[in-house]
Symmetry: C2
Subunit: 354 residues, 2 copies
């Protein structure tokens, strides 16, 4: 029976605090479902490592973690000490690009017992996926500045969309929609304002839709789409967007379900040529780091997504079910959700429910 090798990277801030709880729950679920996992721990991709070595990762980082079955990642970034473009572009965004993790996948689900900022919404009303293109689009590094420090100064940056890049994320999204009961896909566009790249995106959506006659699809401009996340979150099933639009929608969506602190994500290479990265949506949270009060559920839920990605559906589902039961039990939750458990107590509670 295959043993999975997981690279564990806690990173910065609360990443280091929630990681032990994530591992705790993964170990319990693995044992219960007969999944064999081995964890390798790495200290790079962190401010600590940078302080010692002057770079975010060792030169041979790809050799160190490139052969693992998946990467379990806490959080990176410590903006007061190290600029974002060094920390994020030197690790997280590097993984996405160099491991070709072209899918960023995030659930938007209203969980039992979690207060939603939206009026009159109950669990079951909101349950969809955001599928985000994760390697190109608006996050290009192409552009520059001219006439610095004069009145003629200007900067430009290109959005780049390739046929390969757009088609593969759309295929992933349509496949996902087809696998779900509602079989409904929504595309995020802005072709009425962004007049070159976005009409191209629309064109490729239309072409891909022809290959999925069983999937109903629609599209909204990003401005009204964000409005509809608030006004009609029940309209959505699978929402696909470019790197930037997906980024926005996958923060706004979890916010609408009151769960930004517990939302998980996968940076996925569907072909499995490279390891995928699973990480909570919250960052390193310098404001609460060191207090032991961070909510570990985003980390734990990301572990469930990792098991599902590895093909261990039953183990993954047992974790998500345990999260739901823990959230429903008021006192076992962390403070941010109005409970009175600390990080460890909450992690133990989930582990016991698995």
């Amino acid at each position: 029976k295959k043993q999975y090798r997981i690279a564990v990277i806690p990173g910065d801030g609360i990443g280091k605090e929630v990681m032990p709880e994530g591992l705790r729950v993964l170990e319990v679920a693995a044992k219960k479902h007969g999944v064999s996992v081995h964890f390798d721990h790495f200290d790079f991709s962190s401010w600590d490592y940078y302080e010692k070595h002057g770079q975010m990762m060792p030169d041979d980082w790809k050799d160190k973690i490139g052969k693992h079955d998946a990467i379990y990642f806490g959080a990176v970034g410590w903006p007061a000490k190290i600029p974002d473009h060094v920390s994020l572009w030197g690790s997280l965004i590097k993984f996405r690009r160099e491991f070709d993790q072209y899918v960023n996948l995030r659930p938007v689900r209203l969980m039992p017992g979690v207060p939603s900022p939206l009026a009159n919404r109950k669990p079951g009303d909101i349950d969809f996926w955001v599928v985000r293109e994760n390697t190109e689009g608006e996050y290009s590094s192409v552009g520059g500045r001219m006439f610095p420090d004069t009145d003629r100064e200007f900067v430009t940056q290109q959005t780049v969309m390739t046929r390969v890049g757009v088609d593969r994320i759309l295929k992933f999204a349509f496949d996902l929609a087809q696998s779900r009961p509602k079989k409904h896909l929504t595309s995020a566009t802005k072709s009425n304002g962004i007049s070159i790249t976005m009409p191209y995106w629309d064109e490729r959506v239309e072409a891909m839709a022809k290959k999925f006659p069983g999937v109903k699809w629609d599209k909204y401009h990003i401005d009204i789409l964000t409005a509809n996340f608030v006004l009609h979150p029940d309209w959505f099933d699978v929402v696909v967007g470019s790197n930037l639009f997906g980024d926005i929608l996958s923060d706004l969506g979890p916010a609408c379900t009151g769960t930004i602190g517990i939302a998980p994500s996968g940076n996925i290479n569907p072909e499995r040529n490279f390891p995928s990265v699973f990480e909570p949506v919250h960052g390193s949270a310098p404001d609460i780091a060191g207090q032991g009060i961070a909510n570990p559920i985003g980390m734990i839920w990301s572990g469930a997504m990792m098991f599902e990605h590895l093909g261990e559906k039953a183990a993954g589902k047992s974790i998500v079910d345990a999260i739901e039961r823990t959230l429903a039990e008021r006192t076992l939750r962390t403070k941010d959700l109005g409970g009175n458990a600390d990080t460890t107590a909450c992690g133990k509670a989930v582990a016991e429910m698995v």
Copy 2:
């Protein structure tokens, strides 16, 4: 005493239905406050005009409306019959560019009696302005496609930010913040992902902030900013963003206050070298056009913004007050807000309250 000359362009769909109500209210308010206004009516910038003439506007459109004190605009666009890039880029976006209306200004205000999709928010909790750059940024026309219909196909589009363009919108936003009791400005960025243009935006914000020591300011990445519109709408006072970010925030903001159908906007040239355009945020709404049920309040409120822009503060305020009273009175509202008035009845109700 000066007589204001206003160019009136109803445009398409419900634009033509709400315009008479806007004019009705403007006339009442003008009479009451001794404001002298003359309206010139134009049929271009509409599908009807395009059908007859094969273009959205006459060649001499600038001579026809360029000398007016303001343009009062209904809605443009009829996507089933005429592509967006012809209708929008041939009128609305042309006005913004050629009349140098570099400010797009929209209020986000929770009005009495309007149901908000957010839980537990009451009038007074949400009251801020979105200031959007309206001429450059992501809405450039620079870019193109290579290797069409092959696997190497790609498209690019540049975001362009000029020193002049960024500084003048920031100055407008800081000025506005300084004039308000809270004196608080929030900048929308995404410099951790969009690595060239957005750091430049941040740099210019920092430079401008030095000139406004009385204004407290902060910045958020656009992803978490949209989340905070839902989670903490009470945090904001003046929010400034690029063309795209401002577009998104000024739909999401009104959605959070339940008022997307009644939200107004101004496309403003602060130097008054050219007329500014005042229009409701809603579009031509083909789905309900022709039924006489459209909510005229977005059009009416836009008229109030126009009077304020012209310096007729008292007349403008009397209209906003009348809107508030009409909204509070359940039956006088249109169906979309749960009332039972049609477009004309609602318009008359506001006019009577002025």
